[in-house]
């Protein structure tokens, strides 16, 4: 199965090029990049460096905004979110590793708006694996993977980055 998996570094390079084009096209001179912990933050760090963005990188931990608190509780690994720059009127690039159901992005958008009112939000993801449960799509997609419902892909990191692919045994 692993031959299906793309090379992460090349995917990030491709994302960086697409983002640079999108930033130029939209005239968003000083976008604010925000990574979603943990995988999205690793990708955001690399994109932030490749694009040489001026504004410091922000981090979101969406643990307090998840819609499954009553089923699974709070992630025991929760860490503080950190947005170093005022969000009001800014163009935000939200970065995540794997786009699946869309629920993480829903939570991240809700959290983002508790910090202020951005002018725009773009979503950049490393992998779009399909299986959306909400009307959410990414503006920048590193690579698309077509996975079955019982297949799961997870980014391991931070250094080096690698994919972990597994299939539910009890499916």
């Amino acid at each position: 199965m692993s031959e299906r998996l793309p090379e992460i570094d090349k995917v990030i390079d491709g994302m960086a090029r697409s983002l640079a084009d999108a930033i130029k096209r939209d005239g968003a001179d000083e976008p604010l990049m925000v990574g979603i912990r943990t995988g999205g933050a690793w990708i955001a760090e690399r994109l932030h460096e490749r694009l040489a963005l001026k504004e410091p990188l922000g981090m979101l931990d969406i643990a307090f905004y998840r819609d499954d608190f009553s089923h699974v509780g709070i992630d025991p690994m929760v860490r503080p979110s950190h947005l170093p720059v005022d969000l009001d009127g800014r163009d935000v690039i939200l970065v995540d590793d794997v786009l699946h159901t869309g629920r993480t992005i829903r939570a991240a958008l809700n959290e983002l708006f508790d910090y202020g009112r951005p002018a725009s939000v773009k979503l950049a993801v490393l992998i779009d694996r399909g299986g959306r449960e909400l009307p959410i799509r990414a503006d920048i997609v590193g690579a698309e993977l077509h996975l079955a419902r019982d297949e799961h892909i997870k980014l391991q990191g931070p250094d080096p980055l690698s994919f972990e692919l597994r299939t539910d045994v009890d499916g």
Binding site: G73, P80, S81, E111, G116
Partner: protein, 327 residues
């Protein structure tokens, strides 16, 4: 044994928060870590997260309190819960029955969590033993027994300044034996593994035998006791102790045990001064110290909300799991 297990579910997760006693270090550290994340929330434009949306939390106070009740109320609101404040003047007659009746009535209103302050030691345990399975109880101070959320916010404040607990010498000054705050602090400090806990007080308030049972080193002289300490925790002087003849005059107490810049010089240079409040200026602490650069008294208050958010959400997530089981 019963008391210790009561606050944990079958999997060892927090269900009620009644006392620090019997909780493992890992759980206290998890609460402090979670509180760090909530502290960030309280600095935002919108100081609210949707975690406990749709839940109802009752602040049930049988004893007056402004600070504690307010920070519990803020904590609940910042978790998006609905909050009801009930102040019940404690009545001497048939307390057990009244408590249970109150509990049943509130349960019938579909409340999910009770934050309880009561003048009787053991009141929160009593209610936890009789509460419906989906209800969580948080002890906001019971008699002379425990005030665990206060102790946790003190630990949070200490960790923010000192980073770790291992090397610390902590002195608690005042009526340690009769203070629920001190009792909870001692349990928390020793669970988190500080190097040494000292208690400083007059002999009448602090017999050596009684204090050593708590695992603390006893001092009756401030200058000796404060030598090389990293943290000084002042306790509020309870006036009823003075009326009971256990203490000399207020003036005499201040002279011997009041925290002044002069006495503080015996502590380490980077000592932090704490007080659970409300402070008696010029009785147990000099204004210059309370408002001085080494005082973290107001930070303690600020941290109260984040720490209580952590305790409430951790306890609530277990009670959700209990409700879930039948399905």
């Amino acid at each position: 044994m019963d008391k210790q297990n009561l606050q944990l579910d079958a999997e060892g997760n927090l269900r009620h928060f009644l006392t620090i006693e019997g909780l493992k270090r890992a759980m206290l550290v998890d609460l402090l870590d979670t509180a760090e994340s909530f502290a960030e929330v309280t600095e935002r434009e919108v100081k609210k997260v949707p975690l406990l949306r749709g839940k109802t939390i009752v602040n049930l106070f049988f004893e007056s309190s402004t600070r504690t009740r307010t920070t519990f109320e803020l904590a609940a609101k910042r978790l998006s819960a609905d909050v009801v404040n009930i102040n019940v003047p404690a009545s001497a007659a048939s307390k057990g029955e009244t408590l249970l009746d109150t509990l049943r009535n509130l349960e019938a209103m579909h409340c999910d969590m009770f934050v309880i302050r009561h003048p009787d030691s053991g009141a929160a345990h009593f209610i936890a033993r009789h509460a419906a399975p989906h209800v969580s109880i948080i002890n906001a101070g019971d008699g002379r027994h425990a005030h665990p959320t206060q102790a946790m916010l003190d630990m949070f404040t200490i960790r923010r300044h000192k980073k770790t607990f291992q090397q610390l010498i902590v002195a608690i000054v005042g009526d340690v034996l009769h203070s629920r705050v001190a009792r909870s602090q001692i349990h928390a400090l020793s669970t988190l593994g500080v190097q040494e806990i000292r208690a400083i007080a007059p002999r009448t308030l602090l017999p050596v035998e009684a204090a050593s049972a708590l695992g603390v080193h006893v001092y009756h002289d401030m200058r000796e006791g404060l030598r090389d300490v990293d943290v000084v925790i002042m306790l509020r002087l309870q006036y009823e102790r003075m009326q009971g003849g256990m203490l000399p005059s207020e003036h005499e107490y201040y002279r011997l045990y009041g925290l002044t810049e002069d006495k503080l010089r015996y502590a380490r240079d980077d000592v932090m001064v704490m007080h659970p409040g409300p402070i008696n200026r010029g009785v147990e602490i000099d204004s210059a110290v309370a408002d001085g650069p080494r005082s973290v008294i107001l930070q303690q208050v600020s941290h109260g909300t984040a720490v209580r958010m952590a305790v409430m959400s951790r306890a609530m997530q277990r009670s959700q799991a209990v409700v879930r089981e039948p399905s």
